[in-house]
Amino acid sequence: MLRVLMISLILICSGCARLDHIQISDIDQSQGDLRPISVKLSDTGFNASEAVAITSELAQSESAKENLGDLAAILALINMGPSTGNPVYNDRYAENILLQLHQQCPTGKITALRNIREARSYGPVSGEIVRIDADCIL
């Protein structure tokens, strides 16, 4: 019971924001008034190794614990390498960002672009987010 409570607490507390990258573009305030616009696209990231490791902690029998622990290690090895956030299953989720940005700015003049790569993490599951904040020149 205590173990379940502890794991639940960890999962709740890990509902955290993560900031991976930010880039700010040129800011032009000389051409007119600015209206803030924002586009956010996200996909679900899943850390299979972490999920199996949690399951392993919850397992009752020692042999199940051991087997799940081995599986978690194998999954961790498979996904080893440089990465930003959890793996997602769709590598094209951020492709429509430019179109959506233009839809919010009819004049087509966009300045002060902030490219933000962030995530909301809930234990082994996360929302991998690409956000563009900008200003539309009116």
Binding site: C13, S14, G15, C16, A17, L19, D20, H21, I22, Q23, I24, S25, D26, I27, D28, Q29, S30, A112, R114, I116, E118, D133
Partner: protein, 105 residues
Amino acid sequence: MKKLFVILSSLIAISVLSGCVSLNSVSLTQLPKERDHLVSATASDLVFLGFTTQNDFVDEAIESLKAQCRGGKLTGILTKHQTTAYVLVFKREVIASGYCNIAEA
């Protein structure tokens, strides 16, 4: 006395060794010819054990940059995103600087 020395040494070692900066990302935009008026802004927040629910502190840097170049054009913007680790606490920081050019009427 020896115990006190060990504790103090450990505390100093932890403080010094854990105050490490990691540079998450750096970006630079096109540089202008006129580079006389440099403006800069910093925004940061402190998070305990990495638990936080927002990244809104970033907006402070943008607003500060805009305020320092009203009616002008900011180019050559260098953006650094870095994290400093202290004991159990992390400082997330965005440092931005750029050149402000205001066109004369």
